[in-house]
């Protein structure tokens, strides 16, 4: 899929559990803690620099299943990879295909990123 904006780039999305996401879940999924813990994307700092994305800046992510906007933070991910904690934010990007296994592609999905 092509963006009109030539700054969009493809990344590999990994989702997973974090301690903050677990803590937020206990407070309730409508809680501020949960939202803050799950609506964020970890990016490689070199990638952020190259795309001109500042720490905490909201970016748009888009996959074949949907799109979402969330703040980017620098984290220990290799270049061209992003990490989003398990939750509704990440799930906007995950498609429903399970290839006959029951398991959607929660990891390894190709996602386009665009700074807004």
């Amino acid at each position: 899929m092509k963006w009109r904006n030539s700054l969009a780039e493809n990344f590999i999305l990994i989702t997973g559990r974090t301690v903050k996401q677990a803590a937020g879940l206990h407070k309730g999924k409508e809680s501020e803690e949960y939202r803050r813990a799950t609506e964020l994307v970890e990016m490689n700092s070199d990638d952020m620099a190259r795309l001109g994305i500042g720490e905490g800046q909201v970016i748009r992510l888009r996959s074949s299943a949907g799109q979402v906007e969330m703040p980017a933070h620098s984290g220990t991910v290799p270049s061209k990879m992003i990490f989003i904690p398990l939750g509704p934010g990440a799930n906007s990007l995950i498609g429903p295909e399970t290839e006959g296994t029951g398991m959607p592609s929660f990891k390894g999905l190709t996602v386009e990123i665009e700074p807004i």
Partner: protein, 424 residues
Amino acid sequence: MKTIVENATCTFCGCLCDDIFVEVEDNRIVRVRRVCANGRGVFIDYDPRPRRPIVAGREVEWEEAVSEAARILVQADSPLIYGLSSSASEAQMKAVELADLIGAIIDTTSSVCHGPTSLAVQAVGEVSCSLGEVRQRADFLVFWGCNPAASHLRHFERYSLRPKGRYIPNGRMDRHMVVVDVRPTASAKMADHFIQISPGGDFEVLATLRALIQGKEIEPKSVSGVPLIQLQELVQRMKACHFGVFFMGMGLTMSGAREYNVRELFTLVTELNQYTRFFVIPMRGHGNVAGADQVLTWQSGYPFAVSFARGYPQYSPGEFSAVDGLVREEVDAALILASDPMAHFPRAAGYQLKRIPTIVIDPMMNLTAESARVFFPTGSYGVDAVGTCYRMDNVPIRLRKVIDSRRPTDEAILGQIIEAIKRC
């Protein structure tokens, strides 16, 4: 009045730590010790106050909610029962009984977690052991595609990396730990070796390891981003250890080849047993998802993605698994037990739950419950409800309750729904 409960069990994850110390004052939990950061909320954040069920957005009496739930399920042509993994086996048995009664599809969170692991076991088997064997004997650990430092916080300390054992007198110092992942995680920082793999490269690397173990020559100098020399060293260390254990997680089950990744790992472990003792333990995420597998299997023959529509159990992952059933609109009502698929499913599947009548049975209001037609606020297993759970290594643990219950259990609610349906 203050009471102390010792050896309570935390049900947050598959570790099921059963050494939790809880201080209770006037039936309120005031202090919890030994629990990890993830599990703390199970005790401290739980609100046990009596609540009434909700039907169509308003609070009602229990009987009315039970009748409405029964009506929904009886009128449905293709009901789905889903979840089960954060509940005790007694409630899980009731869920299967209900599914059998109404000819429902029943699926557990395994289908979006370790379902691929079950598929792998069914194909190639599994060489495993209890966690105590790891404590007593394991001198070589590989964490593949999992991050205990985020998901199973006491795993290293209680079971795998640090504890002293009969044949591991020096604990950590007698062990070598490897982490294999696509990114350097907090767990990787604690490893003696970290192997970084390109996303989707697990299958290739595992196949390469199998070949290296059998003494085959490998031409490429690197495989999926991993220098061959690292893999050769890993193989040497694995063959030289006394008792090696792989722990595996979503990095394998959720990526690309899914169950084929797991099959490759399990076959590798089986083949390593020609040289030394090697094992694999899947890192089960929820407190009793292992129990959900067990209960559904012993009552139907199959661990997840089961349909009773024909009057006998049929097994078909990809067909009777919840995400698929929802997305293909093959499900016209849902009962969600102790789970929050709206928070964990791909949006298209979660969205379907809003379009069909849904019943949620859970200790707390969650995203699925918010848009459900019926919500039953029940007790919380291990906090104000007793029950039996199964640890990630399938060791059964009996939960105590630490405070008196002021809400019905999910087991009781399911029983009432079953009775109401039988009376229809």
